[in-house]
């Protein structure tokens, strides 16, 4: 009995003798395994789409609450009826199914964005239907990598549009001249305080706040009332935050303390936090799921986002009446995320239309429950779960992008000398 396999060696095929059929056998086994899994999972995938499983989570929450205010308001502004936070996904999915091959795809437009980018399946089909362009999404690593790679590939951009540069990295991106100006009609619906570039090289798409969170039940006493309280050793010793050099929320929290205590006062604040026993982790996941009680750790206070309590309810294992976590509103630093057309794009028309689409209510209302951010478009409806469980931050802390970029290295260096010594 002879089994034959081919190996690339001297360009000839090698005949193996009987009893040596292992390689083909292995390949066959692995392929069979993969095939079986593929069959299983695609079935499940179809089911999920058909029954709207992915939507139910938020839908259930929405049904429990009176969300008529937000929905009603938004209903007037939009004509596609996708205002209910559980409905926009379904609507998008339905439109997908209704938009078969009849649509003529005339080209594609490429969007590079960070790892956390997510839209409801089929959302971009609406864009294709309107414009004839398909959207290709390219993952650009984390927010910092995204900007770095855009600068490194300036002039030979990987995509037509970049989404995900925030106000803390904005100046660096502008200085490197990676964007082309474009004044989208969508800007009319976006509050002026979010529009940070007068030349419109970037368009605001969403915003959110980085805030100190606490797990209510894990605190020994009352919740801290504000930033000042955190220096108390009983709070500081159960507080975990992130390294500003490697973590976006970590850097935002450093900026929050600089905005609050000033250029000459923040160092003393951090000295007190350090003396009180604050813990620092390299990234959000390490802090939140490594040290914070959410991941089985023993820290009751963590640097996270204003919308984290919403996610804790939506993705909970048990039914919560109230979020298990709370937010220190005076610790919140505002992050605004922008999209920009990359200089050197070969599809300027598609890029412009994509930026327009991203400022439109359909896309804007899809973002909150996928990325836990607020829409920049003031006409877009806020999901009921946000209304109910997110803490409203009335006066978030901010700093000018130019000031941030000019001082970033010095601030993080000084921070390291205080905290890591």
């Amino acid at each position: 009995m002879t089994a034959t396999t081919t190996m690339v060696d001297n360009g000839e095929s090698l005949h193996l003798r009987g009893g040596q059929r292992s390689l083909p056998l292995i390949v066959a086994l692995i392929l069979a395994l993969v095939g079986t899994l593929a069959a299983c999972s695609s079935d499940d995938g179809d089911d999920a789409t058909a029954t709207g499983d992915t939507v139910d989570l938020s839908g259930d929450e929405a049904d429990d609450t009176d969300d008529s205010d937000s929905d009603g308001a938004a209903m007037d502004d939009t004509d596609d009826g996708t205002t209910d936070d559980s409905a926009d996904a379904e609507a998008a999915a339905e439109e997908t199914e209704d938009t078969p091959e009849a649509v003529e795809v005339t080209g594609s437009v490429r969007l590079i964005t960070h790892d956390s980018f997510l839209v409801t399946e089929g959302l971009f089909d609406n864009f294709t239907l309107e414009t004839g362009y398909e959207v290709e999404v390219v993952s650009g690593g984390d927010a910092g990598e995204l900007v770095s790679r855009a600068i490194l590939t300036a002039g030979q951009p990987e995509a037509d549009v970049l989404f995900g540069v925030d106000n803390t990295f904005l100046q660096r991106a502008l200085d490197a001249e990676i964007f082309e100006s474009y004044a989208s009609a969508g800007l009319a619906t976006i509050p002026s305080e979010l529009q940070l570039d007068p030349e419109n090289r970037v368009t605001p798409i969403d915003f959110g706040d980085v805030c100190v969170n606490y797990w209510t039940d894990a605190l020994d006493g009352p919740a801290p009332a504000g930033l000042d309280d955190l220096t108390d050793p009983s709070y500081a010793s159960s507080f975990v935050t992130e390294d500003p050099e490697t973590s976006s929320p970590g850097f935002a929290f450093l900026l929050a303390t600089i905005a609050t205590y000033g250029e000459d006062g923040w160092q003393d604040y951090w000295q007190q936090l350090t003396d009180g026993g604050v813990t620092v982790e390299p990234g959000w996941s390490e802090a939140y799921y490594g040290q914070f009680v959410a991941g089985g750790g023993d820290k009751a206070i963590v640097t996270s986002y204003a919308t984290s309590p919403v996610a804790e309810v939506i993705f909970a294992e048990v039914d919560y009446e109230e979020p298990p976590t709370g937010v220190l509103t005076d610790s919140c630093f505002r992050q605004i995320e922008f999209a920009g057309i990359l200089a050197g794009t070969e599809n300027r028309d598609g890029a412009e239309k994509l930026v327009d689409f991203m400022t439109d209510t359909l896309f804007q209302e899809d973002m909150p429950l996928n990325m836990f951010v607020y829409p920049a478009n003031s006409e877009a409806a806020i999901p009921s779960s946000f209304e109910q469980w997110a803490t409203v931050v009335d006066s978030p802390l901010t700093l000018e992008p130019a000031e941030i970029e000019a001082n970033r290295s010095r601030w993080t260096q000084e921070w390291a000398e205080i905290v890591l010594r």
Partner: protein
Amino acid sequence: MAGGAAGLFLIALVVWPLVAVLNRSLASVGPGEVWSVLGRGSTRSVVAFTAIQALASTAATVVLGLPLAYCLARLRFPGRQLLRAAVVVPFVLPTVVVAAAVDNTFDAIGLDMPLLAIVYAHVFFNLAVVVRVVSSAWATIDSRQHEAARMLGASPWTAWRTVTFRQLTPALLASASIVFLFSFTSFGVIRILGGLRRATLETEIYRFAVTRAEFDVAAVLALLQLVVVVALAVSSALLQRRASKGTWRPGRPGPVNSVARKLVLTLAVAIVVAIQAVPAVLMVAQSVRVGDGFGVDHYLNLFDRADVLPVSAAEAIVNSLLFASAAALVATVVGVAASSAIVAGGPLGRWLETLNLVPLGVSAVTLGFGYLVGFAAFDLRQSIWLVPLAHAVIGVPFVVAAVVPAMRSVGLRVRQAAAVLGASPGVVWRTVDWPVTRRAALTGAGFAAAVSLGEFGATSFLARGQESFTAPLAIFRLLSTPGQSLRGQALALSVVIGVLVAVVAAVLERARPRSSDSVGGLL
């Protein structure tokens, strides 16, 4: 020629991107600035710490791996196959979860020794490299020489040291080089366990390239890293060539019939339990925790797409398996071809011997940015094939590490004898090299698959859309959003790919050469 093709593969996917990105980053930098970066006190201390932790990790991994390698190669005991397969599991476990477990364990017992914690985690991840590469070589060492030495009056220790250990040296060096390079470029473990002050070259390159966008400084550090890697690869190659060559004769594992053997087996099991099993079991336990009770909910959820993922976890596993199959296949073909050239000697072989290790030793950021700059033409960087190819590049050194010692053990004389007797090079390869190589190649293929299944850095950088959304990306994404059910799903997914990689390894293990089809008769 096969070796040449392997060389071209590595030039295209390693040398070219590195040249492209370094060239671009250093375009406006003069030699003076390079020296000023290298001359900084901080650079020197970073290099020193990087080297020290890598050396300590390598030494600990080799010492702890040897008893295990011996048991797997030489002893027959229940659960042996399972153990062989299970040691590779840590390869695919997410750093965030494992390092946090180690961190919490050290905290719980009140140990504040970051270097020890780093070494512990590196041993956890890398033990399999030493165990599998060395045991696969150990199984082919002719035990009659050891017996002869004993009969001639050598003590067991002397016989082991002068006969067995010397024959194991090439495999030991090959696996130790890989462990060193992995530890040398380790990122997550250092960041989480080292305390934030502990910078290594890898974390500094990331800091300058990504956080500060000072590409010139990052490029100088990347060059420095490259120099160390090449120096290590060259010296490892020299030592391997100088090491004595054994003769190949597959021995059958023997029963655990003496006190010494029982002791070694006990020790080996203790090592696995203390270092590998405890964090793994903790993870399984956490993955079945639901609310205040226990259940398999998180596992069932893997089939429904979580709201934070573009595809279901199950689909991500399928993508991962497809990539792993492709990456393992390519890595094995390239690795075996490169090994033939390395064993044959000559300039090409020596060059490949160094080059194949480079991808393990250069920073993921450097290589990742290199792909973006180097493959800008023709839109190559948009190709979905970049992901499995990048995985294959990292898998090649594992295949080479396993295959070269095996091929060398055949000995030139056997090959020459076959050639003198009229065998063509193809026939020599088929009848002499391949039977010996096959088992080692499968060990390497298993590693290449494991590397691919667990790879995060390059994948997050090169992934394109849903088709290339792999299981490690899904774990990372699940652990990036608050919510207990997402964390549970991430742990369940980690456990599943852990089991999968063990299954793949076990399936590859089944493909053992039978003693009857070996060249044993030739020797």
